[in-house]
């Protein structure tokens, strides 16, 4: 997918929750058709960057420019979801239109849209199931489906493969790639450098500020990873794809000299 017009521009943004800045002078640009990954350690500001981008939090400094009328879908981390909450898959998807329609019941067109999205994501016939009764992969797709019901131009996903097994990660990556190939702009955060980030066309390395941005081959380098994670990481070449590994020969703290 080639990049098109400007959708979202986070320009020199600084933001904090009251105990020092989480983001410092961060600039990120998202164009139509992008498939962008944001990587960085815990607390580096990845989730906050998504929230700033969609306007859920207001920057302390800098500006966020969105294309007029831009529709944004948001997919939270699934491990923040309350799976005991009494809600069915269809009810969950209808929440996405809470800004537009307040009534409990879905309109005919809404129900049609819900069924269409469920079918597209391989969830047909599961609308009346409780969200807890689904497999891990289906649960992840329900929240992607909820974002798609609003017919977004760009979808922002927070750690879509956090805590999932290899099969679900693989399926999620392919689902997002298919959606991107169909014209949807995708921005996601991830901790998974090898299973997810290395497969994306473009990455931003974040640690409160933007350390580097570019293709995986350009940014998954030892010096960039050292500045991003503050830890020594090596990078191997696997058929042209970078594979991030722990530094070979670096002893674990507290284990040196044992044995």
């Amino acid at each position: 997918m080639t990049s098109g017009g400007l959708l979202l521009h986070v320009a020199g943004v600084t933001f904090g929750y009251g105990r020092g800045p989480v983001l410092e002078d961060v600039t990120v640009t998202v164009r139509a058709g992008d498939f962008l990954g944001v990587v960085g350690p815990s607390g580096s500001g990845k989730t906050t960057l998504l929230l700033v981008g969609m306007g859920a939090v207001r920057p302390d400094a800098g500006a966020v420019h969105r294309r007029p009328g831009l529709r944004i879908g948001y997919v939270p981390q699934v491990d923040t979801v309350d799976w005991s909450f009494p809600v069915t898959v269809a009810e969950c998807l209808l929440m996405a239109r809470a800004r537009v329609v307040s009534a409990p019941w879905g309109t005919r067109s809404e129900r049609g849209r819900v069924n269409e999205v469920l079918e597209r994501l391989g969830l047909a016939g599961l609308g009346n199931r409780h969200i807890r009764e689904l497999s891990g992969g289906q649960q992840q797709r329900v929240f992607v489906a909820r974002a798609l019901v609003g017919d977004p131009d760009v979808v922002l996903l927070d750690e879509p493969t956090s805590g999932v097994d290899v099969k679900t990660r693989h399926d999620t990556l392919h689902l997002l790639a298919d959606l991107n190939a169909g014209g949807l702009t995708v921005v996601l955060t991830t901790h998974d450098l090898n299973g997810m980030a290395a497969h994306l066309p473009r990455l931003v390395c974040l640690n409160r500020h933007v350390v580097a941005a570019g293709t995986p081959a350009e940014v998954l380098r030892p010096d960039v990873l050292e500045r991003t994670y503050g830890a020594g990481l090596g990078v191997l070449d696997h058929g042209g794809m970078p594979v991030v590994v722990e530094q070979v020969g670096a002893p674990l703290r507290g284990w040196a000299g044992r044995g």
């Binding site: 929750y17 989480v22 815990s42 607390g43 580096s44 500001g45 990845k46 989730t47 906050t48 929230l51 969609m54 306007g55 859920a56 948001y74 939270p76 981390q77 699934v78 491990d79 923040t80 979801v81 309350d82 799976w83 005991s84 909450f85 009494p86 809600v87 069915t88 009810e91 969950c92 209808l94 929440m95 996405a96 239109r97 809470a98 800004r99 329609v101 307040s102 009534a103 409990p104 409780h130 807890r132 009764e133 609003g150």
Partner: protein, 294 residues
């Protein structure tokens, strides 16, 4: 014949106007508490309901002694307390439970002191604490009916934003739902519901009417719509049965209503135990363990 005599004896008190008032008020208050309590339970705010009922007692005492309309005075006090708790909760600086504990118990203590100092800690004081069938007037019935009607209308008008904010507050806000307004409206409705239900249940027991029927309904169904409806029906049924029983047993209405409601909870808990153990445990059932923004 025996059954007819029993039902005649049970329903005989309805010939008295004050019993009819009490019965209608308890039924409507039970439904109202079930409606509002569903959100209280699902948001993990049971302690807020408990604390708020105690906070309102301070306003109740102050307005009764000052000769101000009790509904207006205690209502304003309750809404102010609810908004204060909500504001503290949003700041995430002090623990919400600690803030509620400090504010609401102080308000309750103030009410006790005001009643004691004025020498009016008699039957009115007991009725405020535990509810009384004798204390329910036609105006109280009208007040409960009006609050129930307005609450139902608000729920229908803001159903999806309410549900979204209850299920997933951070994402709801990120998706453009005005969660601050939704939270404020819910807290205001909760305060007013407690205020009007207080005459029937008493401040110390109204929290149970908010929590027990929705908790029972949750064990019966996995659907939000059905839980809401069931909680209202269970609350209304407990209110009606408890109020009638309180007349026959000649004890305060609040404790009897709570005991009826608790009985239904225990029966449901026992009846649904086998299916509950077959369910997969939730990944993150405790709302307090939700991941905060980094």
């Amino acid at each position: 014949m025996g059954g007819a005599r029993l039902s005649d004896a049970l329903l005989a008190p309805l010939q008295y106007g004050f019993v009819r008032n009490g019965l209608v008020a308890a039924t409507l208050a039970g439904a109202l508490c079930g409606l509002v309590g569903t959100f209280v339970v699902l948001r993990g705010m049971s302690y807020v309901g408990h604390g708020l009922s105690h906070a309102i007692f301070g306003g109740f005492a102050a307005s009764s002694l000052a000769g101000v309309n009790v509904l207006a005075g205690a209502g304003a006090w309750g809404v102010a307390s609810a908004l204060a708790i909500n504001a503290v909760a949003r700041r995430r600086v002090v623990g919400v439970d600690a803030a509620i504990g400090v504010v609401t118990t102080a308000s309750f203590a103030l009410g006790v002191v005001l009643f004691a100092a004025s020498g009016r800690a008699g039957p009115n004081f007991e009725a405020a604490l535990f509810g009384s069938i004798l204390g329910v007037t036609g105006r109280d019935v009208a007040a409960v009916a009006a609050v129930l009607a307005v609450s139902t209308a608000l729920l229908l008008a803001g159903y999806r934003p309410l549900l979204f904010t209850t299920f997933d507050p951070d994402v709801a806000e990120a998706s453009g739902v005005r969660t601050r307004l939704v939270d404020g409206l819910l807290m205001g409705t909760l305060a007013v519901a407690i205020l009007v239900a207080m005459r029937v249940m008493g401040v110390t027991l109204v929290a149970a009417a908010l929590v027990t029927p929705p908790a029972t309904a949750r064990m019966i169904t996995d659907s939000f719509n059905r839980m809401l409806l069931l909680a209202c029906l269970l609350g209304a049924g407990s209110g009606a049965a408890g109020m009638l029983a309180s007349y026959h047993l000649d004890v305060q209405s609040g404790p009897v209503i709570v005991l009826v409601s608790t009985g239904l909870f225990v029966v449901t808990y026992a009846a649904t135990a086998p299916s509950r153990t077959l369910r997969r445990p939730p990944a993150c059932a405790d709302r307090s363990q939700r991941v905060a923004r980094p």
